[in-house]
Symmetry: C2
Subunit: 149 residues, 2 copies
């Protein structure tokens, strides 16, 4: 499962390969990814804001794509809107972590709508961790687009 | 001026080189950059959300860095928070455009604070254009960090 999505993302989104972005752990409801600092530095020698966003965004996309596929929903997954907060400099290799909250109202709605082949949005929070500290948080709204809806 | 900042960004932020990001036009108060689609595609063959964010963010950073240098302010420029809206798929090579609004209250405040060597934030809107349409908008808050403030 992990290798399948690693290949899918790296082959279809080539910038993730340049970045060295890789999946550490992928379960139906959670994901952790790893990104090395070196190809992703900025002028200060720390993590570049664009790379941090991209690593977190790809992490969220992969989690929701895997979830969608595992339930056999036929939907295209696209980013609609996002908000990122940079809390601390990323001074080393970093990890992104996200979980789908099964107890949330938006999760119930998402499952119900996709089961009826209706498009639906879902907002996922993603944490960027470096040296055991949360260095950035991304809240990203994806849309699951169903054909004909 | 353009070449100086092109080299600065490409050399200090290597991912911008992989992306093919380049400055088309740079003036003290405005900037336009170009990004080719090919290295920045997603699974749908359109512009990857991470690359779109990164191109726009680098565009904003370059404009403010050039502005800051041109006025001889000694400040480090870092991203603090950002919001991006994806409006249309990016189906081809794309441009990012940003302007500093000299008539705004936040601009007056920024100049006043930096002249007194005090750190200050500035929120810049950036448009992502493809085939003459606005495909995404980024609002990004940067902080000009002055030493000892």
């Amino acid at each position: 499962m992990l290798k399948k999505y690693q290949s899918l993302v790296n082959q279809s989104i080539p910038i993730t390969q340049y970045m060295g972005w890789s999946i550490e752990n992928l379960k139906p409801m959670q994901i952790t990814t790893f990104t090395p600092l070196k190809p992703n530095i900025n002028i200060h020698g720390t993590g570049f804001a664009g790379s941090i966003y991209t690593a977190a965004m790809a992490t969220g996309w992969t989690l929701l794509k895997n979830w969608c596929d595992s339930l056999n929903f036929a939907a295209e997954l696209v980013a609609a809107q996002a908000n990122i907060c940079y809390l601390l400099p990323v001074a080393n290799d970093f990890y992104c972590h996200a979980e789908i909250n099964q107890d949330s109202a938006q999760y119930s709605k998402l499952k119900r709508r996709l089961a009826n082949n209706n498009s639906c949005s879902y907002t996922l929070p993603i944490e960027v961790m470096c040296e055991l500290k949360v260095c950035a948080t991304l809240d990203i709204k994806f849309v699951f687009k169903c054909k004909g809806s």
